[in-house]
């Protein structure tokens, strides 16, 4: 029965507490309402502020995405470059880039006025970096020089009327964009080497080295250098890749023999994916750094004749591998090619 007593006493105190609290709520009503309503108002303002900020951030992120996607397209367009379509490809790339500037970069102008430029940097930075990459890439392919930050910013001036602050890309985003540019240049250089534009590849190599060297002095002082340090490592890898590619082209390039009767550029890198076209016109494909680089000497009608490895290897190794061995047209092509080689000697 003691339990019951305890319960009862608890119940009584609870009832008392409830009563007193009801009383208190009544007495407190007026005073507490005034204090809480004043900070409700204040929180209303904070809510507006946060809503506006978040909406703006979303708009900036969207614009940044659009800029990224379309700048990527420009970069891909530039990669379609080759010896004979150079002008045409670059014209289109530049036109597309101008469209990105007008259509998407312009959206950032009015969002990034005043302190928002730095406040929302994380939201727009990826897009701007990609844009810098595309713009500098176009410029390099056109002139072989680096597009300066001031020049990029000058192209952004017409986007806004004079009454508002113009959008000006900051140094940090520009440098981050440049770091990405070297990756694209590496791809371009490899592509050029396989297209036998060795000189161009070496020019690219020199350019990328210059950028890397200049950046090594700056990166340690940059604001958030962890991101940039990572990019520096990647950049060094790109530089080394280009250098190695130039090296192999140099060393093995001495074995390249331009063939009489073919003014067309010959494919330099013979990947297996190239095999199809290879068998179409064998005489143009006489050397590949992918194949072992020994020279073959053979006798032909009592003379010593220099033959590059392709013809021999094609017969011995590559053709059986691809199942082309018995193909009559291939045999004929190789025969033709050997005749060319002999004539050349």
């Amino acid at each position: 029965m003691t339990e019951w007593n305890i319960d009862q006493s608890v119940a009584e105190t609870m009832a008392a507490a409830l009563q007193s609290s009801v009383k208190r709520v009544r007495t407190m009503g007026s005073t507490s309402e005034s204090s809480s309503s004043s900070f409700k108002d204040a929180f209303g303002n904070y809510a507006d502020y946060l809503n506006n900020l978040n909406e703006k951030r979303e708009r900036v992120i969207k614009a940044s995405r659009d800029i990224t996607v379309n700048s990527k397209k420009v970069i891909f367009q530039v990669h379609r470059i080759s010896k004979d379509n150079r002008e045409e490809v670059l014209d289109k790339a530049e036109k597309d880039l101008a469209a990105v500037t007008e259509k998407y970069m312009s959206k950032l102008v009015k969002e990034l006025q005043g302190t928002d430029f730095w406040k929302l940097r994380r939201a727009y930075s990826p897009g701007v970096q990609e844009y810098v990459e595309a713009a500098t890439f176009c410029k390099f392919c056109r002139t072989g020089t680096l597009l300066n930050l001031d020049d990029i910013n000058a192209t952004l001036l017409p986007l806004s009327d004079p009454s508002v602050e113009p959008l000006q890309i900051n140094v940090l985003d520009y440098l981050l964009g440049l770091a990405d540019l070297t990756g694209e240049l590496m791809r371009l250089a490899i592509g050029r080497i396989s297209d036998r534009e060795l000189e161009y590849a070496e020019e690219i190599c020199q350019f990328v080295r210059d950028i890397y060297r200049e950046l090594t002095l700056i990166v340690p002082h940059m604001d958030d250098s962890s991101d940039m340090k990572l990019k520096m490592d990647t950049m060094l890898q790109s530089v080394v890749k280009i250098e190695n590619a130039c090296f192999s082209a140099h060393v093995r390039g001495s074995e390249y023999m331009s063939l009489p009767g073919s003014s067309e550029p010959s494919s330099f890198l013979l990947g297996l994916s190239d095999a199809g076209s290879l068998f179409g016109n064998t005489e143009k494909r006489c050397f590949s750094p992918l194949l072992p680089a020994e020279r073959f000497w053979t006798t032909y009608r009592g003379k010593f004749v220099h033959v590059t490895p392709s013809s021999a290897l094609l017969q011995v190794t590559v053709l059986p591998m691809l199942g082309f061995e018995g193909s009559e047209s291939v045999q004929k092509a190789i025969l033709e090619w050997e005749q060319f080689a002999v004539v050349a000697c």
Binding site: V10, T13, M14, A16, A17, S20, S21, R24, T27, M28, T31, S32, S34, S35, S36, S38, F39, K40, A42, F43, G44, N45, Y46, A47, Y49, L50, N51, N54, G114, T115, D116, F117, W118, K119, R121, G144, T145, L146, N148, L149, D150, V171, L175, E199, E202, E203, Q206, D210, R213, E214, L215, L217, I218, H221, M222, D223
Partner: protein, 239 residues
């Protein structure tokens, strides 16, 4: 091509030279900021340790007096920060990361102090006033303010527990009312999944803890005697 290959073009060098000086300039600015922020941090640490005496049932007015003296010092330091930023308008947020967490702590201390004094929430404008900040040039970021308020709420459960232990049975009721209102006000905000959201999510545990203390006190009839008004502040509740 061959000529340019050995020495990079002068325009390339020139641009990077400029970048280097710009970035070094920004680095030295950052160092200036950090020096001030270190002082802010140390002052606010003193203030915090002074405020902690409130948990040891020291008379609130005495604690407040000491802590209030430090506000003046903080004001001076924030003034120095504002001075630095007068040189580079619009770059407030470029360096924001360097002082934001310290500022959040300062806000939480100020808000706690203010609550002890008045029983009300320190509003954003009031916080700016106390630190001598001016929204138009060097203001208090609203998110920093809100995070600071969340930090303050973390201090509440401990305060309530110690007040009750010291014999102030009315305290939980007042704190509970205050925190409930505060929590309700925060729910008006549409938050993103960020730090503020995380801090706000933590607030409900403070609220829960205070509710428990309130319940414990009430169920035993200890709170029944206290009948003072909520807006008088806890300073009166002290015996």
């Amino acid at each position: 091509m061959s000529g340019g290959a050995d020495s990079p073009s002068p325009s390339l060098d020139k641009q990077f030279e400029e970048f280097r000086s710009q970035i070094e300039e920004s680095g030295s600015l950052r160092e200036k900021i950090r020096a001030v922020v270190l002082e802010i941090e140390s002052t606010s640490r003193f203030m915090h340790s002074g405020l902690l005496l409130v948990h040891q049932s020291r008379p609130v007015p005495e604690v407040l007096e000491k802590a209030n003296a430090q506000i003046g010092e903080l004001k001076g330091l924030y003034n120095r920060l504002a001075e630095i930023f007068r040189e580079c308008p619009g770059q407030y947020y470029r360096y924001h990361g360097d002082w934001k967490s310290e500022t959040q702590t300062v806000v939480s201390l100020l808000a706690f102090l203010h609550w002890l004094e008045t029983g009300n929430l320190l509003l954003h404008t009031e916080a700016e006033e106390k630190l001598g900040l001016n929204s138009s040039e060097f203001g208090l970021d609203i998110e920093d303010y809100l995070i600071g308020v969340c930090f303050m709420s973390n201090e509440m459960p401990r305060f309530v527990v110690n007040q009750v232990t010291a014999g102030d049975y009315d305290c939980p009721r007042k704190v509970l009312k205050f925190l409930t209102d505060l929590h309700a006000a925060f729910r008006m905000l549409n938050l993103r999944n960020d730090f503020l959201r995380k801090k706000f999510d933590g607030m409900k545990y403070d609220l829960k803890r205070v509710e428990e203390v309130h319940y414990d006190v009430k169920i035993r009839g200890l709170a029944a005697t206290g009948d003072s008004n909520g807006n008088q502040g806890v300073a009166d509740g002290q015996s």
